[in-house]
């Protein structure tokens, strides 16, 4: 991914402020959300006290994209839910719970179980070279790319341009004629008519 603009003076201080504002916030078992993401130190995903030294390595801006997710094993959740449901039905003298009541109970059980667990943590390195304007994100998952791109753009307010043949050609500074030619290209085939016979 690339950034197509030059950076203003005083960029590091302003960037640090925005990075700190988007640092990862640890998940709480009582939150409704099942996952969360934000920046962390590239060298230590558990380090959320980001400062200039931890982020700026000479001409590189180095960040970790930390993604935490609660993972409650399904059999455990189902067993606990069955138990809680039976207990509630007995207490209230009912035969069956309604959809909404069951969903509420499930969330309650989920939150209770989360207190006994720790979230699964994942961290992916992001390195932005201020010299070449290239941003490296070390994951091949399109979902993770989208997450990183959104957070990066929200945090630093620069649009990231993903690498693709079209953007890489545009970067070369095509003339209007070359752009028209590029747009009208048809896919090459090495098949000959006799190959189809």
């Amino acid at each position: 991914m690339r950034i197509g603009v030059d950076l203003p003076e005083g960029f590091p201080a302003a960037a640090m402020k925005r990075i700190r504002a988007n640092v990862f916030e640890p998940l709480s078992p009582d939150d409704d959300a099942n996952d969360g993401h934000g920046w962390c130190s590239m060298l230590d995903p558990m380090d959320l006290e980001l400062d200039h030294e931890k982020v700026f390595f000479n001409e590189y801006v180095c960040l970790g994209l930390r993604i935490d997710r609660w993972f409650v094993p399904k059999p455990l959740l189902e067993a606990q839910l069955r138990e809680a449901e039976a207990s509630l039905l007995a207490k209230k003298g009912l035969d069956k719970l309604g959809k909404v009541a069951r969903a509420d109970l499930k969330l309650m059980v989920l939150k209770k179980l989360r207190r006994q667990l720790v979230p699964v943590t994942k961290s992916i390195d992001l390195v932005w070279s201020l010299d070449s304007h290239v941003v490296h994100f070390f994951s091949q998952s399109p979902k993770m790319h989208l997450l990183a791109q959104e957070l990066f753009e929200k945090t630093l307010r620069y649009r990231l341009v993903p690498e693709a043949p079209g953007t890489a050609a545009e970067r070369r500074g095509l003339s209007a004629e070359e752009r028209k030619l590029f747009d009208s290209l048809e896919q090459t085939t090495l098949a000959r008519e006799e190959d189809a016979r």
């Binding site: 000479n58 070449s132 341009v161 690498e163 693709a164 079209g166 953007t167 070359e178 090459t188 090495l190």
Partner: protein, 196 residues
Amino acid sequence: MKDLSDLIEHNRFVGRESLLWLWFESELFEANLRPSSADPCSLWIETRLALAFERDDALLKSATPSSSPEAKQALRQGKLPREARLRIVLGDREYGCLYKADTLALSSVALPTELGKKDEVHEVFYERMRLLEELEAVFEALWSDFLAMRLGPAYPKLLGMWRAWAHAEPVDPKAYRALKERALAERRPSLAPKKR
């Protein structure tokens, strides 16, 4: 200027054609490539080659998948290389990577690092970035050369040579080199890569 999503999605096949060109040059010049704005390098396909046409995919896995009869057969069926595991040698440094043509992305990159876990963490990082950027500069130079050929008047002749090569007919390396040199000499300055 076009919308960014159009730029990204449009003509992704050009990335596959660039990989086809790398394969062609690698085979024609016995792996010795000469990007016009980077040092000469050796480049060849190893262990993995995926070819595709629409939803028809062929994955070839062997020590030298590009030299298997199935690889050329796939080209003759209209498939283009979608991704390939490449080995690149720059001087005495040997790199490996999976080149994904649709996004021009390098993944599973193997860098010839000398520093390790026992060394200072910042130095390890700088070494890795320096090596990665060296590798990317080679791909950037190769992409520029390919684009000049693809958008220039040399393309019909290049296509003829590609077809002959895919059909196991002789291709004269000297004639191809002359065609390429003319194409690169005639390209507009903006299409020429910047020296790093």
